[in-house]
Each structure stands twice: as structure tokens, then as C-alpha cells.
Subunit: 229 residues, 2 copies
DNA sequence: GCAAAAGTGTTGGGCCTACACCCATGC
DNA sequence: GCATGGGTGTAGGCCCAACACTTTTGC
């Protein structure tokens, strides 16, 4: 308290979206000011004095991109003194997921100049140390989806089983045996199979729809169940 | 940049120590000033303008407790506006491990008034939200030691196998089958068995000493090996 | 009827668990 | 010689991976 500190506090958010056609994307904004004017960057900004870090993330996302997220989790705090060339800015990075339905709508409309979804296979260069942050987020998502049911947050509320399969196959970057995968997932007992069938996509047989049952999952968790895919 | 922010940035460190006799302990300091004067708290303090977060942790630990740590990892950032009653202080919490040899020496000498090791079964009330931080650190340590070889950082360089066994048994809070545990660990191929035997403890047969081979571990990692206990 | 995707069972092998007796040391 | 902890192998069950044909739909 004797010395006055000169460090600013910001939050940044890596937001993932998914749909069957385009795979996994993340949300970036185009910087309007120097430094890195015109570069793509992760959305974020300074924390207000009396708001929580999570509120700051949601506010900045709303302001900069109009996106509302579905799941939010703290990722890591980046605090190297020189990560911003002007002054010291500490950034608490979060990672967020939006569900497939919202994502598809956003993807269609948000061809604005300033905020855009990029497929994770085709990412541009990023400003500051944002590539490090992004790499960490992807790694975390991959690691976490195998021992926690966060993959469902990226899908629609009701989804055909093949969507789940494709999501895991895409993110884990390996082929998945359809029969074994289904057995394993269904044995967890956290998916409800609905009567409803998916609407036809124009080719092939439409599949049954499934729904992640969060209440059941919470219950099983208390009884010591162990989610793993 | 238009508005001036009024948030201070601190780091805190949960430091774990271990030896065979006393089990797992953590390092706490007694607060000298209000608020919570006289309470026990996690060591930490404000980050200087031009030092990295990790440097800040090591400096504060040195100043407040004289401890040098062996392993350091970022845990979580605690940023609720009201976590400190006076003003807004953001804390990036780290967790650290000291090895058994150092710990035993420190434990013996540091009966000072201001810094003390507490067995994790017998923790006092803590200042601020430090109990939350501590709970998270313990959870992280437990979870992480089963899929990354950080347990070795708590042991001496050379250790009898039973130390490793006891460490896991204590932290995971369940009995471990000696034969199966040894088979599983040795099959990983990252422990060297030394010729040397442990010095006798006064009763029972002395065991062989083992050493964690970090280089081998790194190599196997690159080849896609998967540590798990 | 043909192309595209969904649905569905069995078998073999590997891994994990359970389990008990002998050995080296200090006193 | 006795108490204490260290060292070691096997057998059964379960889980996981591999694998292919039939069904439904749109055109």
C-alpha cells in the first residue's frame, strides 16, 4: 500500500462455436486502434471497478460482438510485464462455448467488419500474445471434454447422435468407432433418447434425437459417477 | 484507457510440503496488520510493476517465510470485487511444492511466530477467502497427481518406494495395494531403481531407493506416453 | 433402385484387481 | 527370536477395441 501499482486488469474470452457443416470455430474481432490496428484479436477489455470478472467478460462480449455465451470458465491469467507494448496489462483469459443453434445464426449474420467467426483450421495471425492464449484454450477444451460433459454445451438442446460423434471426432482429431462410442456414452446414463427424429438433411436416414439430462448427471455425480469418454 | 481503474494486483501461494512422519502440510503466515490481524493466511502480496507473476510469488515467499519452492503452477485468479473489505484486490493464486528434505528442515526450524507449517488435517480458520483458495489447491493437487508426475516434487531426490506409496495413499485418502501400485508405476518406465538402499529407520527391512528420471519422462511424453496412476 | 447415413452384437485380448507368504533388519 | 516393514506372482473378471450388414430416407 505504500507503493502505487501501475498494472491494469483486463479480461479476454476465447469463444468456441460449432455446427455440423463448418466444424469448430472461434470468435475474433478486428482491432480498431494501434497497436496492432487492423489485426485480429480475441475479444475482451478492461474490468470495471465494481463488476466481477465474469460480468466483465459477458459485457465485453456483448459490446464487441453481440454474442451471449452458454458456458464460461476461467482459463489462465497472462501477466508478463511486456505482453502489451504500451503499459502493463494483466489479462484473465476465459473460455466460453455457444450452442450450435446460436452459432449458426450468428455465423450467418455477423459478417460485419469487426467481429467474425474463424474455423480453427484457418486462423489468422493474432495480436499481442493472443496466439498463446488461443493455443491454451484449444488444449483445455480438448482435454476437458473427455472428462467433463462440456461438449453438450456446443450442440443444440436436442441433437442427433452423429452430431456428438462428429464433434468429438473433430476436436480429438481422430476417427471414432460409431458402435463403441455409442455404447460408451449411453452407458453413462445421462442422455435421454427422444421419440422425435431429426429432420432429414436431404440424404440418408434421419436419426433419433437425444438430449443431455443435466439433472441426472448431477445426481450421478453425487453418487460418485465418473464421466469419461 | 479513458477511465482509471482502481484494482490492485496480488499473488498468493499455497505451498505444500510432505514427509513420511507428518504427512502433508501447508505453509501459512500470521497476519500482522488489520484486517484479520492475528489470523492465519496464505503467504502473498502485491506484484511489483516490472516483475512477472512467478517472480512475485517467489519474492514474497522468500520475504515472508524464507521458503524456496521446487515446483510452481498457476492455480486460479480470485477477483470478486468484495473479497478484501478495504479495496479491490485481485489475487492470482499459485500452488507450490517443496521437496521432502527441505520441508523437514524448515518444519524443524521455522517455529517462528509468523510462518508455520500446518498439517492439512488440522488447519486453522483463514483470513479473507483464503479457505476457498486452499480448498481449490488441495483439489487440484489431488486431481493432478494422478495424471502428471508432480508427486515426485514432494519427495526427496532419492526415495524408497514406500514413500511414494504413502504419499499417494495419504493424498488420495484411500488404501493402496502395494503390489499393484508398484507394478503400475514401474511399468511407466520413469523410475530408476538405484543400487543404494535406504538407511534403516530402526525397524523393518530397508528398501531400495528410486529416482524419478525426468529426461526419460520427457522422451516418453513426446512418443505419446500417458502418465496415469 | 441407388446413394447416403443410422442402427445394431459378438468375440478376443489386455488390463486391472484381489490376494499371502517369505525376507532383511534392529533390538 | 520377535517385531516391523520390504519384496514379489498369479488367476479371474471386466472392459475396451475391432469389426460388417441391414434399414430408412431422398432423389
Amino acid at each position: 500500500m505504500k507503493t502505487t501499482q501501475n498494472i491494469k486488469v483486463a479480461v479476454d474470452a476465447i469463444v468456441f462455436g460449432y455446427n455440423r457443416e463448418e466444424g469448430v470455430s472461434i470468435l475474433l474481432i478486428k482491432r480498431k486502434y494501434a497497436p496492432f490496428k487492423g489485426s485480429w484479436a480475441i475479444p475482451g477489455g478492461f474490468v470495471l471497478d465494481n463488476e466481477s470478472l465474469e460480468d466483465a467478460v459477458e459485457r465485453e462480449l456483448q459490446e464487441e460482438t453481440g454474442v451471449q455465451i452458454n458456458y464460461l470458465e476461467q482459463l489462465y491469467t497472462f501477466g508478463q510485464p511486456k505482453r502489451d507494448p504500451r503499459e502493463r496489462i494483466l489479462s484473465i483469459a476465459y473460455f466460453g462455448l455457444v450452442n450450435s443453434k446460436q452459432f449458426s445464426e450468428l455465423q450467418a449474420t455477423s459478417d460485419a467488419e469487426d467481429a467474425k467467426w474463424f474455423n480453427i483450421q484457418m486462423l489468422p495471425e493474432l495480436a499481442f500474445d493472443h496466439s498463446d492464449i488461443l493455443a491454451m484454450a484449444i488444449q483445455r477444451l480438448r482435454a476437458k471434454m473427455i472428462y467433463q460433459p462440456i461438449g453438450f454445451e456446443l450442440l443444440e438442446n436436442k441433437f442427433p447422435f452423429s452430431d456428438l460423434e462428429q464433434l468429438y471426432s473433430t476436436l480429438l482429431d481422430r476417427p471414432i468407432d460409431r458402435r463403441n462410442f455409442k455404447k460408451k456414452v449411453m452407458k453413462l446414463g445421462i442422455l435421454d433418447e427422444l421419440e422425435e427424429k431429426a429432420k432429414s438433411t436431404g440424404s440418408g436416414r434421419p436419426g433419433n434425437l437425444f438430449k443431455f439430462n443435466k439433472a441426472t448427471y448431477q445426481n450421478l455425480l453425487k453418487k460418485g459417477m465418473h464421466f469419461e469418454i
